[in-house]
Subunit: 359 residues, 4 copies
């Protein structure tokens, strides 16, 4: 499916954390020959992404990339909301596999987009073509898609954490699902602000967007379709005292009591064939309430990789499922899953270029 | 009310984080003359608590302290569950103001204690005398108590965060209150374990006790009495990448929609006269979903102090209140509130010895 | 020596980390009645220093403070270099005890100031009155001074670390003293810059000023006088992954071999009467090269306090002394030692207002 | 040079940080077919290295590996000092490329080993065959070696930082080179100890081995041969508040004054052909002493990769060179350089399996 000699890939918006991470991963992708990141700045690539010094990459203006659309196999958008919707048709219309890491194509309904993002959608006609890219759940649709809406970092993590329970109909519909997620400070962007200076966050954490993080409606839209009924979530977001990764926990009130083992079985079945989703099945030992940190996943075991590690327990005599999920917000939460989707869409082995384990 | 020449205070269990913190604060208390911390170890005090080098404190065996019960004005227990219940009568029976920082006297019903802590209560007859020590809510009872059950660190923080809403009857009874709290690693004790080594936690966080942290039933017992109806909480606990402090958030579904300003008014009224509870009333500016970290409290602004900072917002058109509370787990969450209770019980100005602001 | 009813204290430049810390400490000083911090901004004090919410402090314009010079007992300057030299005469000339936490009066020779700071000194005539404020070494001079140059944070820490060796003439004059110090990111100021954002520093550290930190010449000027011979230092500075504190180590090549115990004796004699300098004299145990972290001081044991903890060992068969010193850069390195100097200059017990131990 | 179908590689001592990291990197090495890590424990591999869950690796007892020596192409030792010297002959004698990541073969002279490590060398006869594996400097020797002594993490980093200056004869022989290095806490091993618990290190750093870290003599032995004259170093070691990476700085007093540009030219020439050594040549801007963090390397830009980033400046009018070097202590400082050496010894492209950039 790929052109002889390897793929040519554009990265619109190559200066941010996500764009840099995408370039990093594409540099290690054996099928990718040419990477074309764009920037508004004239800054040298290695000054913006010093970790990629020696890679030989260089920025080009976004207009130059647009002129070369015919050369591209794939284009990624790592742009603020509102950009991709204006440029996507230019690429997707030429058959370029177009993957938006932003929010422009995540909602089927342009009015929902408008409500959540506060601006009218610029190209609602494209929405019908877009496929929502949680690879593990939408693989078949992604395989034939030419316009892919990569999910938000919190959304992707939460969806993997909750899908087996919702698919099995185990969650009580009358109790909202509580999701509390802590993200690294790379999730706050790289524009200097007082609140995200080191001395402010070191030794602490930062709650934000309590009025409602935009990934909340994204989750509800997805789950409502997925579960076939309205699903309500309380999504709590914060930045932790670390640069990368999402540590997420969800409380799901169940329609009937279940044991930890029963839920673990549900999850291992759901993800048994998935390379990138690992369920921690360590048995619980010791006395009541003895702390056993190892039965839950640890962010350090996924940061830098495309893995999502899951663990769980039950509370209130099995009436509540408590799920923990960890991912790297810039990999599985963004650039990694985008490449995973690219691989699927191009008919390449899904794991290609994503083989790295966490440090 | 205090003896001429200052107070003599015992600290049973002086080797842990809480016992050390209590000594630190008592050293700065102008009414305290003598501090007698106990230890099972023969180790020098300054080796166990190097930050208190120069204080001149020394450990004595717990048996020696028991012999000197008649000299004491106050005794604090910083012991694992099960110790205080065996020794408290010895002191309280002599009129010594007895304050347990552990869980032994937090439940009025010994069967609830047994269910939550997995062991029979050794002195159920004392429970009727014990008063639960959330100073801001129980000040009058504490003033006359001789046996005080200091609340758990999560419980104290969550109670201050939620009491105004529950007192006003604004919380929907049919939706559990989701509470997600991140605590410093001092909350994990000082016994070396692999999971809490630096390299394991640095850059990450640790979920624990998902089957149900014991402060959950403590909260439910308190709130059920306080609100006059059953209150259910989902308490999620984790250790963050910092040594001290609790960053806690709660989601409360409301019986009717309220604005942020209405809730802020409720909170400022509730805590207007309280020295140690500060409500962040900064107005929200900017566009929809613009991040404004400063309207929520930051752990760095309370660590080292006895303050609890509160902030809040509303979601879903005002149907959900989202509260953020930060405290120092070893001060307001333990040793500081214990001294605050001591002050009240002895008729001293409540703020005495607790005047330090956060760094 | 103090006015009836307590001291009135001005803080010129109250918005930075040092100014805020000075206010924090002055709020706990029992002899201080009125604190007058200045600011160029109209911002509310509690928004700039949220940790001091509830203190009731408010900024006034620097011009208003100048008009009220006659009311002041003490004025502190927490201003960038170049400010204090222009305003100090206004206060010192009226007999106000004037303490500059900046560098304007640290060099007796205005040409050295000009060389190091790149600007001409605006009031060289005042330099002769200024006393350099390392309290432990210059107490008598400070007691009668009305203009005190508070040492730089690195300088104060390094001076305490090295003074006993230099006074005893044990350091080889032909080998520069290597000093490597890591400071918290509060030392980098509170102006947002990309390099000191959280995601840049978390998990790393930042070297800076390799061409020569300005505290290097300050150290050399002090030590050359103190030791009565030219002293050369290589001062290496960096910001570590923490907000507060200096962890400093120095290598001193000795004129003759000495044992660790001999040097510990030298240090304990030198600082035996000092409240704020603690020498870690724990014996070395175990086999050759066995790691024994506890014999060296830990920053966590001083942060928040005015203490300097010292530890040491010898290398190369006793031919090199290796000293470790830790202080809180904003307390002993700035605001705390400034208050210590104020106490001495006003004839108050030196420890007043500085009794807090580290957390 | 490799066997048809890929390499079979043994990892003696697969449970520690270094052994785990070696397995991680070997899993991504395209020429490696079989990885055989040994352990004394019966623990499942994924429980010891949860980041490698899904890799399919399993421990075998070291005796089983010894029996299979004939199958191996390469064996790595990630064992405490004293192990490799007893087992290496078994493998090297069969022609297996044998790479010790410990210290057993780093000193040509067994008496130096004995002095530094406090134990007699068990197989001094092998020392003559061993080659010291700083690939960038000893590539030719390594290409034909069958026993490779991989350098210590500090040593490798310091050698890359200093070699150009020493080779050019620019360092004054009468002044020791001051080297101060901060390492992640993974460098402290994974045995739980109080000093390296999270709450002890968070917000601080830990000095250790002030009597002389063993990599100091290793450096001196190497440099004395390399420079053709005695070289003395003061090596200061500490653990920082991060899990991985070495941030190292060196002060070198020069025989004559040089500009920063001259030294940068020396370094870029020295490392111009090296893939894994990057020299930061950003120009200095701004005023005297203006902080410009970006001209020095940042640990975050190398962690997870095999790169060493170098930066430098001059002090005292060009008379002192100040070098900063950053590496990942477990990659370039251990497992990565070991694989780089393996590649060279087996005639594979040196970069194979080491293409990852830092996160």
């Amino acid at each position: 499916m790929t052109r002889a000699g390897g793929l040519t890939v554009g990265v619109v918006g190559g200066t941010g954390h996500t764009g840099g991470e995408l370039c990093r991963l594409l540099l290690g992708h054996p099928e990718v020959r040419t990477i074309l990141p764009t920037a508004r700045t004239e800054a040298a690539f290695a000054l913006v992404h010093p970790n990629l010094t020696g890679s030989g990459l260089a920025f080009l203006p976004v207009e130059r990339l647009a002129e070369r659309a015919g050369e591209l196999d794939v284009v990624f958008f790592c742009t603020p909301s509102g950009e991709a919707m204006r440029q996507a048709r230019h690429y997707a219309g030429r058959g370029v596999c177009t993957i938006d890491l932003g929010a422009d194509f995540r909602f089927a309904d342009p009015l929902v987009y408008q409500r959540v993002y506060g601006a009218e959608h610029a190209d609602p006609g494209l929405l019908a073509q877009a496929r929502y890219g949680v690879t593990e759940l939408n693989r078949d649709e992604i395989a034939t898609a030419r316009l892919i809406a990569n999910p938000g970092c919190y959304a992707n993590t939460a969806i993997l954490a909750l899908a087996p329970l919702l698919r099995a109909g185990l969650a009580r519909p009358d109790v909202p699902i509580g999701i509390h997620a802590v993200n690294g400070t790379t999730g706050a962007g790289n524009t200097p602000k007082k609140a995200i200076m080191h001395a402010e966050v070191a030794g602490a954490m930062l709650s934000y967007s309590l009025e409602g993080h935009r990934h909340g409606p994204e989750l509800e839209a997805f789950f409502t379709t997925f579960a076939g009924r309205p699903v309500e979530v309380d999504l709590d977001t914060a930045h932790g005292n670390f640069a990368r990764g999402i540590h997420l926990r969800a409380d799901v009130h169940l329609t009937a009591a279940h044991t930890r083992d029963e839920l673990l079985e549900l999850y291992t079945e759901a993800y048994g064939g998935e390379h990138f989703v690992v369920v921690n099945t360590q048995p619980k030992l010791g006395a009541l309430n003895e702390k056993q940190y190892e039965i839950y996943p640890n962010l350090n075991h996924v940061v830098g990789s495309n893995f999502c590690h899951l663990g769980l327990d039950t509370g209130r005599g099995g009436q509540v499922a408590r799920i923990v999920a960890v991912t790297d917000n810039l990999v599985k939460g963004a650039a990694g899953s985008a490449i995973q989707n690219m691989n699927v869409a191009l008919g390449i082995d899904e794991r290609t270029g994503l083989t790295a384990y966490a440090l």
